[in-house]
Amino acid sequence: MSAVQRNNVHVQGAGTQAMVFAHGFGCDQAMWRHVAPAFESDFQTVLFDAVGAGRSDLSAYDAVKYADLAGYADDLVEIVQELGLTQIVFVGHSVSAMVGVLASLKAPELFSKLILVGPSPRYIDDGDYVGGFGAAQIEELLEFLADNPMGWSQAMAPAIMGNPDRPELGEELTDSFCRTDPVIAEDFARATFTSDNRADLDRVTIPTLILQCSDDIIAPLEVGQYVHAHIAGSQLVVLEATGHCPNLSAPAEVTAAIRAYV
């Protein structure tokens, strides 16, 4: 099975350069739907689902490979190579920002720019390092995800949006977004929230833009500043958007910030 099939890759737009978008933990490529289209006239946009998310091939899941973010980084490199791309602009959200960093260390010739939205190299506090969470809290999160595998039920209904006449409720909805397989999500959460990639930041050689949200509990300001301090030559832009998903809550601001950089 090709990487393009495995990761449900979608290529749109036209341009000499490719812009590859990577979604974070907890969602799928749909989270770029208000940002990616804005670049289609100037770039070839590439969207994909991490294995376990969206419509990726769940049978490709390998608990050993994906126990580490390096497994996801390998997939990213494979996708880029399979599409014959090089010198891409990479836009990664949340944990996939770090996946992009790791991929750029593995195959720097494929990357021209790194745009990291809400990145964090380590979520658990460590001495002076503020990750945002205590180890016990992360453990509790993983337990919560284990105890509530259906805590995120498939009963999502886009028909809810102000139009109660739609009969799609209760049917298998092909339009449902942010699909994640609950068992794989548990593993992905563990790989993400117990990761420590601080040492990798110093090795980054690709020009990098960090988009930091205000009031983001997952990747707080101190973390964005840490990433900025450790990636030589990087730029840090603090967005007015709050929360962890500015690509959804403030897509215009994100689009503008990306455009200003590329």
């Binding site: 974070g24 933990f25 907890g26 969602c27 749909a30 989270m31 739907r33 949340s94 969470f133 809290q137 992360i138 509790e140 999160l141 337990e143 919560f144 995800l145 105890d147 509530n148 259906m150 805590g151 995120w152 039920s153 009963a155 999502m156 209904a157 886009p158 809810i160 949006m161 102000g162 449902s176 977004f177 942010c178 994640t180 999500a185 929230f193 983001d216 509990i217 997952i218 929360g243 962890h244 998903c245 959804l248 809550s249």
Partner: protein, 365 residues
């Protein structure tokens, strides 16, 4: 809201929250306030995520907030709320955005039900499922060990049996009394039976351990094999009739020993279980590389419960004193059919019981 509306809102049997366009609480009902132990005033202006424990806050920000933005709502999401006393309250939540004509969000309504019982029930279910899986895995491992032991035992029993056969042969050559010869014949018959049982057990173990019934297929005529089986059984059942209806002039690919074993088993069963006053019929057709063999007997129908388990190993139905077997015959017969890429099926009613072996041509298997 009117006073009546407000009363209705506050007295709802679930928590009801209204969030403004910025996601901050504008109104909560009394039910919710009571549950979490904060006053409605204290809660106003806070964000939904502030009400959650830190771990579920992470879950909310990464997995739920995006869906709310993408779909304008979410349903049946588990959260843990923080209570004023520092505890946590498990809830199940649904939310719905309400947009104005210009498409902008006016407010979001969030409904929450307490889920302590449900959460406890779900955890208990998961615990039981995990336990069951654990037990199943242990059982499977034990079964594998058992089957390996059977294979080894069967293999090891063959040597002493061979010794007895050899010894009996030697004794015969020594010139024996008539009584002694009869006893030797009984011994040889018993050894034969033991060897048959061991062969069945080995076939069974091999099938279960995955290597399956091995076949040595040759392209040949079916008739000689069938005739030989019929002769053997007629010799053992001189008073019984076996009627043969063969249309097997074409050659087919099959393992003679195994097909012989299968037919012998089916005929033996038919003779043992069928109406002793009626004939047993053996039919065979060979056409274009495929072949079919059928064994039919008259007599009472096979009971329904037995039908379900007929081809399972160790199934013996009603065991008669005269029968000595492990109940592996039909199971092995069905495995032989399967190894040939074919099927062994049975139809049984008050008129007749019919076993049919269907083997497709070797190219299509």
């Amino acid at each position: 809201m009117t006073t009546e509306d407000l009363d209705l809102y506050n007295s709802a049997p679930f928590g009801d929250l209204l969030l403004g366009p910025d996601g901050r609480i504008t109104l909560v009902n009394s039910t919710f306030a009571t549950w979490v132990g904060f006053t409605a005033e204290a809660l106003a202006g806070r964000r939904l995520r502030d009400l959650l424990t830190v771990p579920t806050r992470i879950f909310y920000e990464t997995s739920v907030a995006p869906v709310l933005k993408l779909q304008g709502g979410f349903e049946e999401v588990s959260f843990d709320l923080l209570t004023a006393s520092g505890g946590k309250l498990p809830v199940l939540a649904s939310a719905l955005e309400h947009r104005g004509a210009d498409g902008r969000v006016l407010f979001t309504r969030v409904g929450m039900m307490r889920a302590r019982e449900r959460r406890g029930y779900e955890q208990a279910l998961q615990g039981r499922a995990a336990e069951a899986v654990g037990k199943l895995t242990a059982e499977q491992e034990t079964a594998q060990l058992r089957e390996q032991f059977i294979a080894v035992l069967g293999h090891d029993l063959r040597n002493p049996l061979a010794s007895i056969v050899g010894a009996a042969r030697l004794l015969r050559r020594e010139g024996q009394s008539e009584k002694a010869l009869k006893i030797l014949a009984m011994m040889e018959a018993s050894v034969d039976r033991m060897a048959g049982l061991i062969d069945d057990v080995m076939d069974f173990a091999r099938g279960r351990l995955g290597s399956g019934i091995g076949l040595h297929r040759n392209v040949a005529l079916l008739e000689p094999v069938l005739r030989q089986v019929v002769e053997e059984l007629e010799a053992n059942h001189p008073s019984r009739d076996i009627i043969c209806e063969f249309d097997v002039s074409e050659v087919v690919s099959f393992d003679a020993g195994r097909i012989g074993q299968l037919v012998s088993n089916l005929l033996g069963n038919a003779l043992a279980h069928g109406d002793p006053k009626a004939a047993v019929r053996l039919g065979a057709v060979a056409r274009a590389g495929a072949f079919q063999v059928s064994v039919v007997n008259a007599g009472p129908a096979i009971p329904a419960q037995a039908m379900e388990r007929l081809f399972q190993p160790f199934f013996r139905g009603e065991v008669r004193a005269s029968q000595q077997g492990l109940g592996l015959g039909l199971h092995i017969a069905s495995e032989i059919a399967r190894a040939h890429g074919g099927t062994l099926t049975v139809v049984s009613n008050e008129t007749e019981t019919r076993f049919t072996l269907d083997v497709p041509s070797a190219g299509s298997a």
